[in-house]
Every structure is written in structure tokens, then in C-alpha cells.
């Protein structure tokens, strides 16, 4: 592998089949409006948003309906014009029910957004915060937090993440292809806000068409770095290593090596917010997976129930299927398809049940998991230490450095749910600390 991979990358990692051809050439379509939306007050990392509407209120598409509760929190906007039907606990793709604003859409509305116009007069972080933008790559960290550089720190490089290393997902790919100028302008805005000297867009080699389009549109203002196709190339630390050769110290942030990483989808959303005054009320979702006969990339209003989205692509008999939000490596199986599409949801994948019929065998100590771990951890050991509840040793073996990429479980020939166990191990350590 080392010999073939001439493009820059990180060490270790895995090579799952990328399965992107299924939807990579599908232009982004539109999910039609449905009857009911549920906008969770928590679809980001940080404090839950505070509702500013009441049951019975009429809201217009794009109207602010919940305000960010603290610095690390986000605003929420109405994805449709309609009536607030309830503010109550509703299913959430995370599996835990979360308080949500439920809006019944007005079938007679034209679904025009309220006029707000460009917002170039205020600081970028404020516009982005107003628009309720979160990191679009999946982590859903409030974007404005990563637009202001803390006192005394400097950022020399803005790294835009266009890797999309999870198999099946093609939403970032399509955004780069269809909206290169918006991505580049958003990037330029973020770069200016951060005071970074340079910005680089990292794109995996399986999306070289997107890289070409971006390069042509940028006319040299932004550099485009092609990186090897390898999972998890899109993890912040791995991307920084591949493109800039810098290693983020364990337990530290990209900022500590002078870098901020944003997703290309976030750049697009930032551009929309600033140029058009459009809040984050919809996102591109890839609907794919072996059970989906016609995979799509779709603009989907936030709050759309997953079952409605699946019905739209022709899937309504979902007994004995596995429905995943996100990619197949790090995504989450859904237990209730009433859960809505949220801001950080890049894909909905459907797998037939037989797919997961695997039997666990004893660990044969083959070392494949060590060779796969991009963080250079010892997953088989962490798994054992978790079973023994050995907190001290878990700490010594840097269990907290695991970012749950799943590469170890992917390669394990004995099908041991390593990342699942390590997740528990991290939890044990966290609980022991409080």
C-alpha cells in the first residue's frame, strides 16, 4: 500500500470500498416539503437552544425559533412556514429523545423565506452564529466558535476538509462540484475572519473532478491538496498530518499547531448566510446503501422525519433493515425513523439485515487492529482493559485519544466489536474522573 499511495496521507488507516459511484454523479435534488417537522433543540455540541416561540405561533420559513443558550450553542430556524404544533420531547437520531419544536407545515404556503438580505456588515462569527451554522461534516460543533481565534493564539492555515472519507457519502463531493465558487468564497471569508495566511482545501483522490473544478474556479487564491483515498483521511488530525505534516499533540486541538479545520459544506453554508442572509434550514443528505436502489443526494429541510425521506426514495417497508445516520464507519443505527434529519447528518444509509450477521471469534492476537489505528493505539489491549475495568491502565494506554473511527473493528478478522468496547472504556475513565 505504501508503494502505491503516492499522494500525501497519514500512517495506518484502512481501505473500505468507497461505494461512492452509486451516488457521485447524482446532481443534488430537492426533498419536497412534508407535513410535519421536528427541530431538536440539541443538534450540536454544547448547550441546548432556548425556544422563543410558543405552541400555536405561526412561523415563517427561515424565522428564528430558538436562540443559542451560551457561546457553545446554536440558533435554530423554522425549516418551513407553518404553525408550532408542540414543543416536546421527540425521537432524535442520537437515540436519546430530545426536546424539539414541532412545526406543522402550511400546505398552502409558497415556502418563501422571509427577506433578510446580505449580512456583510457584521463580523463573520456573528453572521454565522445568527444563521445557526454548525460543522457540516458530522461533528456538529457550532461553527462560530471556530471562527474566532482566542486571545494570544494565531492561526496560520485554514484547512478545508473535502475528504469525505466515509464510504457511500457524496454530499460534500456534490457541493464542491456544483457550487465551487460558493465554497471558495466561504473559504475566503473564514480565512479572513481567522487572519490565516493561507487556506488549503484537502480533497481525496477519488474526487479529482471536484479538485479540478475548485482549482479552476479559485485561480490560485486557494490551494487544493489531493490526498490519498484512505479512511479516516477526513479526521481533522489525519488531514492536518497529510496536508501540512503537523502532528496535533495528544489531547490538544488543531489550534495548538496553528490550524483550524472546517468542512467544505460549512464553507458553503457560511457563504449562503453572508451573501443571502439564509440561515441553516436545510442541508445536503446522501441517501444510499445496498438496500437503496436509487441513491440520491438531496437538499433536505432540517427536521424532516427520516421515514419521510426514505419514503421519498421509494423505501417504506423497513422491517429487518438497518438504517444508519452518517457513514457506515462512524454512523449510528436508528431505532425510530420518526427521528428527524439534523444539521450534522451527512447521510442516511440502508443496509439489509443479513449484512450484519457476523459471529464473534476469539482474538487471535494478529495485530491487525494496531496496524489500522490512525492514533497508534493498541485496540485489542484497550478492549481487554475495558473488560477488566482497569481505569489506570486505560489511561496509560491513552484511551481518550481514540476518536472512535472504527478502523480497528473494521479490520478485526475475529469480528470483535473493538470500538464499541473502547467507547465504554472511555466512558469508564470519564466517570472515574468525576
Amino acid at each position: 500500500m505504501v508503494l502505491i499511495a503516492s499522494a500525501p496521507t497519514f500512517s495506518h488507516g484502512v481501505h473500505p470500498a468507497d461505494q461512492k459511484a452509486r451516488s457521485a454523479t447524482e446532481p443534488i435534488g430537492r426533498m419536497p416539503f412534508v407535513r410535519e417537522y421536528s427541530v431538536p433543540l440539541r443538534q450540536h455540541i454544547g448547550a441546548a437552544s432556548e425556544p422563543i416561540v410558543a405552541v400555536g405561533d405561526i412561523v415563517q420559513r427561515g424565522q428564528l425559533i430558538a436562540k443559542r443558550a451560551s457561546f457553545v450553542s446554536t440558533n435554530q430556524h423554522a425549516p418551513v412556514t407553518g404553525r408550532v404544533k408542540a414543543i416536546e420531547t421527540r425521537p432524535h437520531p442520537s437515540g436519546v429523545s430530545v426536546r424539539a419544536i414541532v412545526i406543522e407545515s402550511d400546505p398552502f404556503s409558497s415556502q418563501q423565506m422571509g427577506a433578510s438580505g446580505p449580512r456583510s456588515d457584521q463580523a463573520l462569527a456573528d453572521s454565522v452564529s445568527d444563521a445557526g451554522i454548525v460543522g457540516m461534516g458530522g461533528a456538529a460543533f457550532p461553527a462560530h466558535v471556530k471562527l474566532s481565534v482566542p486571545e494570544g493564539r494565531t492561526v496560520d492555515t485554514l484547512l478545508m476538509n473535502g475528504c469525505e472519507c466515509e464510504p457511500y457519502l457524496t454530499c460534500d463531493h456534490r457541493i464542491m462540484l456544483e457550487h465551487p465558487t460558493a465554497v471558495l468564497e466561504g473559504t475566503a471569508m473564514i480565512q479572513t475572519a481567522l487572519g490565516a495566511k493561507a487556506s488549503v482545501i484537502g480533497v481525496e483522490q477519488n474526487k479529482s473532478d471536484a479538485a479540478d473544478v475548485l482549482r479552476a474556479a479559485s485561480k490560485g487564491s486557494v490551494s487544493v491538496a489531493q490526498v490519498a483515498v484512505k479512511y479516516p483521511q477526513g479526521a481533522e488530525k489525519m488531514l492536518i498530518k497529510a496536508v501540512l505534516g503537523r502532528e496535533v499533540p495528544v489531547g490538544k486541538l488543531p489550534l495548538d499547531v496553528g490550524v483550524v479545520v472546517h468542512n467544505v459544506g460549512t464553507a458553503f453554508a457560511v457563504h449562503e448566510a453572508v451573501r443571502l442572509g439564509k440561515p441553516l434550514i436545510e442541508r445536503v443528505v446522501t441517501v444510499s446503501g445496498p438496500a437503496v436502489s436509487q441513491p440520491r443526494n438531496l437538499w433536505v429541510p432540517i427536521g424532516t422525519p427520516i421515514c419521510d425521506l426514505l419514503a421519498f426514495v421509494g423505501l417504506d417497508q423497513l422491517d429487518q433493515y438497518i438504517v444508519i445516520s452518517g457513514g457506515p464507519m462512524m454512523g449510528q443505527a436508528q431505532k425510530n425513523l420518526q427521528a428527524p434529519v439534523v444539521k450534522g447528518m451527512s447521510g442516511i444509509l440502508v443496509f439489509p439485515a443479513a449484512h450484519q450477521a457476523t459471529k464473534e471469534y476469539p482474538c487471535i492476537r494478529c495485530g491487525r487492529c494496531l496496524d489500522a489505528c490512525p492514533m497508534f493505539l493498541n485496540p485489542t489491549r484497550l478492549w481487554l482493559l475495558t473488560r477488566n475495568r482497569d481505569i489506570e491502565a486505560l489511561n496509560q494506554h491513552h484511551v481518550q485519544a481514540c476518536f472512535e473511527c472504527g478502523s480497528c473493528s473494521y479490520v478485526c478478522p475475529s469480528h470483535i466489536p473493538l470500538v464499541h468496547a473502547i467507547r465504554m472504556g472511555k466512558k469508564l475513565v470519564r466517570e472515574a474522573q468525576v
Binding site: 488530525k237 457506515p328 425510530n336 457476523t358 476469539p362 473493528s409
Partner: protein, 326 residues
């Protein structure tokens, strides 16, 4: 909705799985068995059948769980059969196989938990119990149906040596200062354990298994490399003690062990650095025992010794965490 399946990520997996890896290794033993029958006749088939079957039966008797289908017990039995001298009484083979699986493996807690390579542990047991029978070698190509009388001897009776005994290439070198024709060692028409003589075939099987990713290539490569390097140096210094690198690589159980013993994931390190260390250590021990030890062959002890220090190697070769201090 209640019928949606809840499972945790990742939802895709590499195709290789453990029983499949075992099957690959077992499959690669088939051509070796055929070759062995060509060299030593039908006794090869009998011995391997006896050790294989004993291993499977033993596992069924000593373990409560039905762990048979992972194929590891069968593999242990087969491997043991191939490292025994042709003409060894079959009952000894059966005993060794029962020991390998019952004590070498199951007593440690089954697949994955044992420290020592179970097949080699079985062989070491036989060597200790029946030193004479284990070091008596029949000449190759005595005729296909030729069965040494002692092969079928009843337990504890008549294990006297009959037939024509021959010297292995390493024994010949050690005790008589003889060198064996390299071409014979490559083709496999020399005296030796059942599966170890045909170097060319072992190399091919090794390459196939490496391509199938059935084992980690670093283990055999480092082993063979260090044998070649050290014997090259020693042969230049003390030629009467240490054979030349080609003889070292082509003779005895080295190639068989390089393909089937040092590649056993269970009893070798999990870390990359550890794998290199394990291979180098094994290679060095092989050359030292062969050259300066009392026995002509030392592969078995070299591997078992390295097995013993593997937990320690693992401990001291933990990878440096990404972003950690150098």
C-alpha cells in the same frame, strides 16, 4: 419500526475472517502433504491423519464450548504431524497431538489464549519423552507403500529402530561434516520431518499465504533475513561450525517454521516493532543453536523461546500514540 436492527458501527467490515484465515493455512498444507507423500510415501498421510484427527477429538473432549469450527484445533494437529519424523510410531503422534491441544491450547483457555505454539509444544513434549524415536530419520523415497514396522507399533512396545536410518542435512553437517547438495534440499528429497524438506514448495505456499494476507509478512521475512545475515557472518568466521546461508535457509525445519510457526498470530507479538524483534530473535537463536548447541536443529526451541518472551516484547514495543511525546 420495532423490527429495525440496532447494531453499532462500523457497519462495513474487511472480508477476511478468522475461520477463513485458518482455512487458508490448512489449504496450503494440502500440496505439502502431497509432496511429503511423494518423498516419504503413505506414512506421511497416515501420520498427518492421525495427528489431525486426534487434535479434533481432543478439543471436543476438553472444551465445553463447540469451538471446533474455527479450525484451529485441526490446524494444530496437522502442523504437528508435519514436524514429526517419518516412521515415528503413530501412537506417539497421537499422544503428541492430544498433548498439544489438551495442554498446549485448551488448558490456556483456547484459541488466542495460549502462550506457546501448541504444535511445537507437542513436538517438544515428544522430543523429551521419546528422544531416540524423535531423532531417527528414514531415508527419503523408500517406496510409496513402504511402512517402517515401528510406525504401526502398539503403544510402549517395539519402538526399536528398524529400516534404513539416514542423516538429515543438518545432522550430516554437524556430526560428520558432510554437506548436502543444495538442489536436493530445494527439491525436498532429503531426510527430515514430514513437511519440512521441500523448500521450493514451502516458499510458494508462503508467498500465496502472504498474498492472501493470511499472516503478517514481517514475521517470516525478519526470521529468514536474520538467519541469512548471521549465518553469512558466522560461516565466514567459523565455517566448520556454521553452514553457509543457503544451507541454513534450505535445511531443517526453518522454512516450514518460517511459513507456519513464526506466523502463528496467537503466539507472536501484536505490535509491528515486536514482530520484527520476534523474527530477528528467532533467526538469531536458530543459527546459534544449530552452530553451537548440542543438537543439529534448533528451530523448535528458538520459536518456543521467543514465544515465551512475546508478552514481554509486546509490553516494551507499544506504539507511540499519535501526537504523543517521542
Amino acid at each position: 419500526m420495532s423490527k429495525l436492527l440496532l447494531v453499532s458501527s462500523p457497519f462495513v467490515r474487511d472480508e477476511r475472517n478468522t475461520p477463513q484465515l485458518m482455512r487458508d493455512v490448512i489449504g496450503s498444507l494440502v500440496p505439502i502433504l502431497i509432496m511429503s507423500m511423494w518423498v516419504f510415501g503413505v506414512i506421511a498421510l497416515l501420520m498427518v491423519a492421525v495427528t489431525g484427527a486426534t487434535a479434533v477429538v481432543t478439543e471436543r473432549l476438553v472444551t465445553s464450548k463447540r469451538s471446533l469450527h474455527d479450525g484451529s484445533a485441526l490446524l494444530t494437529g496437522l502442523l504437528l504431524g508435519f514436524v514429526l519424523p517419518p516412521g515415528l510410531p503413530l501412537w506417539m503422534g497421537a499422544l503428541g497431538s492430544a498433548f498439544a491441544v489438551g495442554l498446549g491450547k485448551a488448558a490456556f483457555g483456547g484459541l488466542g489464549a495460549n502462550i506457546f505454539n501448541p504444535a511445537l509444544l507437542g513436538r517438544a513434549f515428544l522430543q523429551a519423552a521419546f528422544p531416540e524415536a524423535m531423532t531417527t530419520w528414514v531415508a527419503p523415497q523408500m517406496g510409496f507403500w513402504q511402512l517402517p514396522e515401528r510406525s504401526l507399533a502398539w503403544p510402549l512396545m517395539g519402538s526399536h529402530v528398524d529400516g534404513i536410518s539416514a542423516a538429515t542435512p543438518l545432522g550430516g553437517f554437524k556430526f560428520q561434516g558432510l554437506t548436502t547438495d543444495l538442489s536436493e534440499m530445494v527439491v525436498g528429497t532429503t531426510a527430515g520431518s514430514l513437511g519440512e524438506t521441500a523448500t521450493w514448495l514451502l516458499v510458494l505456499c508462503g508467498l500465496w499465504l502472504a498474498l492472501r494476507k493470511a499472516f503478517d509478512w514481517r514475521l517470516p521475512v525478519s526470521t529468514l533475513f536474520s538467519v541469512a545475515l548471521l549465518s553469512w557472518v558466522l560461516h565466514a568466521t567459523v565455517p566448520e561450525r556454521c553452514a553457509d546461508p543457503m544451507t541454513m535457509l534450505g535445511s531443517g525445519g526453518l522454512m516450514f517454521a518460517a511459513v507456519f510457526m513464526v506466523t502463528d498470530p496467537v503466539t507472536t507479538p501484536v505490535t509491528a516493532k515486536g514482530m520484527w524483534l520476534f523474527g530477528f530473535g528467532t533467526g538469531v537463536l536458530v543459527v546459534l543453536i544449530r552452530s553451537f548447541g548440542g543438537l543439529p536443529e534448533g528451530v523448535m526451541y528458538a520459536v518456543l523461546l521467543m514465544n515465551a518472551v512475546t508478552p514481554w516484547i509486546n509490553r516494551f514495543t507499544q506504539p507511540r500514540v499519535f501526537g504523543g511525546l517521542a
